[in-house]
């Protein structure tokens, strides 16, 4: 046996032992918060990108869940014990993460943080009849097996966020209604991203129907660092409005580039734009006059939002974004449903799922990302997107 073979034999043995060791414990639980009450706690699990490129979203959700569960466990009613698994925003890893959660004995779930991961995990939820509500996986393919026709819903999977097509339609309708902002629209979107191209496709279809004048469309991909061409194309086409159905990090770069080129249209974004003001070292004056449709604003004055934002800042040193807010709402919505249905940790998963689905399709929920939220049987949420504009470095509500 050569040395190489020896090492490999050793590796194989280690692996086999590892598999045996893990096969019974089913991976280790990531317990973030132990309940203090006497009753057994409901096992709440989710997966999200806790490492890698998209980890900013996964970590935001993880932080918000931690705060919500801490509050809930300190109060009356149902208690939770949380398990967060890393899926790196990857469909394959999301299925593994789901199975790790099932090995742990998950009873209710926040599904996944990102859409691609959610699309792969959702069919498993249907198969196992497991209840889940995702804070931020906004693709229709997360709740429908046939996403194109919005048909064959999975049934036990719900969303706290708007679906992507919904946002595209709402944005087009808003721009049509508010012609005073401008009539010539340019779109810059990310073509290799589920979220962005999802909104883009419905926006374009709706714009055609509504008769919006789209003067230029440009795309970029994750690998791009330079946005000068896309911005210049929009400027050369004489755009008065630039629609940015993208997340706030590339959006901030587009604002910087537009400023460099002296191009000053009205920028318009969706819920992914939220977070732009809390970017470290961002020149907020660049975002002045930026419109966005977002269900959450960290500047809102209601008590719930202020309490959440304060706690989040104290604990994690940053302003929570919309991912965090949606996750915070998810946990409270689950609590409300579980309390109303009298769900306890010793019930079977099938009973818990049935009770939760019955509650979610009938209850009304007030959270920090909207009030009087309702869910359809297919899992889609109905709440009002709030249009806000950034003035003096803060969100200001505007009329719909």
């Amino acid at each position: 046996m050569k040395f190489n073979q020896f090492v490999k034999g050793g590796l194989a043995a280690v692996m086999a032992m590892g598999m045996m060791a893990c096969s019974n414990s089913g991976g280790s639980a990531t317990t973030t918060t132990e309940p203090t009450g006497g009753d057994a706690a409901l096992k709440l699990g989710f997966s999200g990108p806790l490492t890698g490129d998209a980890s900013v979203y996964g970590l935001a959700v993880q932080h918000a869940v931690e705060i919500a569960v801490e509050e809930i466990n300190a109060g009356e009613g149902v208690k939770f014990v949380v398990n967060a698994q890393d899926d790196m925003a990857d469909p394959e890893k999301a299925v593994s993460a789901y199975n790790a959660l099932m090995d742990w004995g998950m009873q209710v779930s926040l599904l996944t943080v990102t859409s691609g991961a959610g699309q792969a995990a959702a069919p498993q939820y249907q198969k196992d009849n497991m209840f889940g509500i995702t804070p931020s996986a906004s693709s229709t393919a997360v709740i429908y097996a046939d996403a194109e026709n919005s048909a064959n819903p999975y049934g036990s999977v719900f969303q706290m966020c708007f679906t992507d097509p919904n946002q595209g339609t709402a944005s087009a309708a808003y721009l049509k209604k508010h012609a005073e902002l401008g009539t010539k629209v340019a779109v810059i979107y990310r073509s290799d991203d589920n979220y962005s191209s999802g909104i883009y496709n419905t926006f374009m279809a709706e714009a055609e129907k509504e008769g919006l004048e789209v003067v230029s469309t440009a795309a970029f991909v994750n690998a791009d660092t330079d946005y000068s061409v896309q911005v210049k194309q929009a400027a050369d086409a004489g755009a008065e409005i630039v629609f940015l159905p993208i997340y706030y990090q590339p959006a901030s770069q587009i604002l910087v580039e537009a400023n460099k080129q002296g191009f000053k249209p009205v920028f318009f974004g969706c819920d992914g734009m939220d977070g732009i003001l809390s970017l470290d070292n961002f020149d907020k004056s660049l975002a002045e006059g930026l419109y966005m449709l977002t269900p959450f604003s960290a500047d809102a004055t209601d008590e719930k939002t202020q309490n959440f934002v304060k706690k989040y800042q104290e604990k994690f040193g940053e302003v929570p974004n919309q991912f965090a807010a949606d996750a915070y709402d998810c946990v409270y919505a689950i609590k409300q449903a579980a309390d109303a249905a009298g769900v306890t940790a010793d019930m079977s998963t099938a009973d818990i799922t049935a009770a939760m689905v019955a509650q979610f399709t009938s209850m009304t929920f007030d959270g920090i990302t909207g009030t009087s939220m309702k869910w359809s049987k297919t899992g889609e949420v109905s709440k009002d997107p709030k249009a806000v504009v950034i003035q003096n470095g803060a969100y200001v509500g505007v009329e719909d």
Binding site: D226, V229, N281
Partner: protein, 292 residues
């Protein structure tokens, strides 16, 4: 006029690629390894200069120097710990270790500094206006291109005129013979990594000044693009890396401007393939002569 303006932003992007490619190409020429962790050294440089400016309040030039010093040290440490023990191993083994180092740096950065984007402070705002305001070239683009040319000239002089430079060339020709001539090959490789990482820091500062976002995986895409640029120009050749970088930047920008923003990636790589089919060792690469 639009064409000129695209050309200039292409040159700006290209010169950033070129500086990264110079570091890549140098290390490849001497150590004969594809250093996939190079892009992540850039990322570290970006964070160092960012914190030097925002937390310590240092001026831009001082923070750039700090980044150069720290990246140089980092590069030498990586070389000492992860690459040097593999000097006798196959080049693929080193490649895999480099990938391990790359994962390590990215994850360490995420844990240390968080995963959200940080916006790099504005450096050198303003632009030169030409043709009655129809064409504007930002000072930053000019500085980037000039820095790039300066670095290239200094590197060429260094390699051709100094004793260390000559030793480097000897190592890249034939390590065994270089050792017999009394050259400390290990030391030369260390110096190469130090220079390459120092260049990475300069690239980081210019990259972030032009595209002001700093995040843990910042270096991976420019790293791959620079690798492409280095091969494009003829890997191991310093003027080749410069030319390859500039051309890659211009092609990318032009592909976006005139063909398709969705498919620019595919177009850039298709051009690369065509060029390599015509010139199989890159634009300025040396012909490989084969012996039995």
């Amino acid at each position: 006029m639009a064409f000129l303006s695209y050309l200039i932003s292409g040159l700006g992007l290209g010169s950033v690629y070129a500086i990264i490619a110079l570091g890549y190409s140098m290390v490849y020429g001497i150590a004969k390894m594809l250093n996939f962790a190079h892009g992540d050294v850039i990322m570290v440089g970006a964070y160092v200069s960012f914190f030097a400016m925002t937390l310590a309040g240092l001026p831009f030039v001082v923070s750039a120097l700090a980044a150069v010093v720290i990246c140089t040290m980092l590069g030498m440490t990586i070389e000492r710990l992860a690459y040097k023990p593999l000097r006798q191993a196959s080049s693929l083994a080193v490649l895999i270790t480099a990938i391990g180092v790359s994962y390590f740096l990215q994850n360490a950065a995420q844990l240390l500094w968080g995963s959200d984007t940080k916006i790099y402070p504005t450096i050198l705002a303003g632009a030169v206006s030409l043709f009655g305001g129809q064409l504007s070239i930002s000072y930053l683009t000019i500085v980037t291109i000039l820095t790039c040319i300066l670095i290239m000239v200094v590197l060429i002089l260094f390699i051709n005129k100094t004793k260390t430079g000559k030793a480097m060339r000897a190592c890249s020709e034939d390590k065994g013979a270089a050792t017999l001539m009394g050259i400390n090959v290990n030391q030369i490789i260390s110096i190469t990594f130090a220079i390459g990482s120092g260049l990475a820091a300069i690239a980081a500062v210019l990259l972030c000044a032009t595209y002001p976002s700093v995040y843990p995986t910042l270096g991976s895409m420019p790293g791959i693009r620079a690798f492409t640029a280095a091969v494009f120009g003829g890997i191991g050749s310093i003027p080749g890396a410069f030319l390859g970088g500039l051309l890659l930047g211009v092609i990318e920008t032009m592909a976006k401007a005139y063909i398709s923003t969705q498919l620019s990636d595919a177009i850039v790589f298709a051009v690369l393939i065509v060029v390599l089919l015509i010139k199989p060792t890159g634009l300025l690469g040396r012909k490989i002569s084969e012996k039995v």
